[in-house]
Amino acid sequence: MSVAASPGPAAAATTVIPNFGHADSCVLHNRFFCWHWFTSHWNDTFAPALVQHIVLTVIAVGIGFVVSLGLALVAYRLHWLERPIGWVAGWLYVIPSLALFQLLVPITGLTTTTAEIALVSYTLLVLFRNVLIGLRDVSPDIREAARAMGMSRLQSLARVELPLAVPAIVAGLRIATVTVVSLATVAAFVIDRGLGPLILRAIGQGLFKTEFVAAGALAVALAITADALLVGARWLLVPWTRRGPR
């Protein structure tokens, strides 16, 4: 009995028992969060999903910003266009994302394009409105001074009005970015990219808590980091707002 319980050094060296199916007690008991499981799956699961999530977000906010900036500049010149554009963007905005993703499937299929169209459509209202408010809030005196200095309308727009609108534009970008980070998790219903699929998969596999808690926490952390980066960008871009009220 004592012989069987203590294998000699030679036996330990020759038999290699693979560690398949090994799980620590935390995973077996499905505790709220297993740090060890999280770190051991960082490289194969969480890091790629996080990168995909960032890519989805950057593309959506980038396209949304370009489109909104264009629309806002048009509406800035042609007042009567503000209402219809705001109206369409508003209607797009109130459609629940789960529904919008599905509505696009017959048209663009289960592709990243579907996800991006939906995500872009959620940035339009906020960005369009904030760019427009930023431009409209430029004091008429300043605009007049720019014209009096001999600037053309385009020069005044590019060198005076748009720079002064940057705080409002960045405020819009912050909202849009955080929104898209959040909604990109819902895109998991149509595409297998980003942090959302981890949440859905973990729910589907009998509520494995560590995976969806970790994915959810990463999404929150990403949103807060992106927000902080944009605040930093404003600090660099518009030094005159560094002091005093925002």
Binding site: Y93, V94, A99, L100, V186, F212, G216
Partner: protein
């Protein structure tokens, strides 16, 4: 396009199912909004009246916006298990920041000259609040409630993932309802959100004191450029939370 035709015929042939799920949807949203209102409005109004805690009141909505609802529902499932209440709690957590910030700003931004005049007439603190600041703040206050309502109705679609029932159950259950059902329910939810928004816009119009009403209908999501800088920063800070 054939898909859409079949989706519409699904809507036509599944009316009892859709209305039953809509009722569940509204029950869930209503419970969450009720709880959120009880928590957020008194606190926001009180802080706004005292003009204290602006940092908390403004920033809570920025933090709230950063919480992905799907993640919140999933974390709620980890803590509370599957069911109606886990989803309600998640919805309450999402609705409170929007309402709190709007309630705060609505009361806090009251024109100081008007408040001074009211005090000069001998009004007490409570009278200034109830007769001056509150009526003046109604549009913004209600804008917050409206945004939160839309937000909660939209997010409740995701409740199906957490076992909360509602219209999302059809959308996430392609195996039972096939794609035409998923698409039909998606159209139904989109229509529901739009109808809710229009209804709330009308309600907002009715609730706004006559002197503050502007000609024409309140715009969708009711964000208007404000004149002064304080209201402007408030406006940006209280921009609608995103739908889900």
């Amino acid at each position: 396009m054939n898909d859409f035709t079949r989706a519409f015929s699904f809507i036509g042939s599944h009316q009892p199912l859709l209305w039953q799920k809509t009722a569940e949807h509204m029950e869930l949203s209503g419970a969450a909004l009720g709880i959120a209102t009880v928590i957020a409005l008194p606190l926001g109004l009180w802080l706004g009246h005292l003009r204290r805690g602006s940092f908390l009141a403004i920033n809570v909505s920025n933090v709230g916006r950063a919480l992905p609802s799907l993640a919140l529902i999933s974390i709620g499932m980890g803590l509370l298990g599957i069911g109606f209440w886990n989803v309600s709690v998640a919805l309450v957590v999402l609705a409170v920041p929007i309402m709190l910030t709007n309630a705060y700003v609505a009361i806090e931004q009251a024109d100081p000259d008007i408040v001074d005049a009211a005090r000069g007439m001998g009004m007490s603190g409570w009278q200034v609040f109830s007769r001056i600041k509150l009526p003046l703040g109604v549009p913004l206050l209600f804008a917050g409630i409206r945004t939160a309502t839309l937000y909660v109705i939209a997010t409740a679609t995701l409740a199906a993932v957490g076992g909360g029932g509602g219209l999302g159950e059809i959308i996430v259950n392609q195996a039972s309802y096939r794609f035409e059902g998923v698409l039909g329910a998606a159209l139904w939810v989109a229509a529901l959100a739009l109808v809710a928004d229009l209804g709330l816009a009308q309600l907002q119009r009715v609730l706004t004191p006559r002197g503050l009403r502007r000609p024409g209908h309140p715009r969708l999501l009711a964000i208007r450029p404000a004149a002064d800088a304080r209201a402007r920063s408030a406006n940006l800070a209280t921009a609608p939370g995103r739908p889900n």
